[in-house]
Subunit: 146 residues, 2 copies
Amino acid sequence: MTEHSLWRFSRALHRALNDRQPEDLAALLDEDVEWTIYGPIDMFPFLGGRRGKAAVLEVVRQIADNFRIHRFDRESIMLGVDSAASMLRYTLTALDSNKPISVRLAHFAQFKAGRLLNIRVLIDSFDLVEQALGRSIHLPKMVMPA
Amino acid sequence: MTEHSLWRFSRALHRALNDRQPEDLAALLDEDVEWTIYGPIDMFPFLGGRRGKAAVLEVVRQIADNFRIHRFDRESIMLGVDSAASMLRYTLTALDSNKPISVRLAHFAQFKAGRLLNIRVLIDSFDLVEQALGRSIHLPKMVMPA
């Protein structure tokens, strides 16, 4: 049984992010890879969509410039032949402020011949924003009277 | 081939939410079901965790009191024997303000004997908060100089 593409991709991504060694990741990206991380791009310009290997490597470099990953826990996972989805909790440091950030995300990924073809990542973005700001955003309670 | 538990669950959930007919949903919940929707519970008290059939039916009723679903598009899906994950885009109306809201979410679910055992839902929560407020929250740009 060969190793699932997700594990190779995950190792290569973390090597690119934390060790700034993007070579393994580059070899695992389809030339036309589609990459989307949904979230507030005004605050984090490296969120949003990218297309193609060069653009993805560039955005991974930007993420590496801003965060250091300390650990991640994969809370749920589903693997298909050429696809994978998981929910993870990441513990990061924002490098500008040295602020610790803990954020939950979910990804859906498709691979082709072992290379990443498409990934979409959803983040618990309000939680991320509050932690990056270092303060709570006051919210009115929005609920109909019982 | 029998229908996957996800489809029955999804129909029953939407019937409980939009038609306020929770009977089908009640029949598809394990007695000890674990239910979590990650998000800002200060603003939306029906987010967060619930345990057990009665608590889940009550929180579904609270969601039904606050929103009406107009449509949902399943953008990604993975099905296992007793598990399912998907990414969806919901178009809703907030009933207090009649405000249209479009929000992306991901769920991971586990079933046992056709009943929901566990579901965890992640929302693009910052996008949800801004739409529910009806205004943008000003965010500083958080990025290291290039």
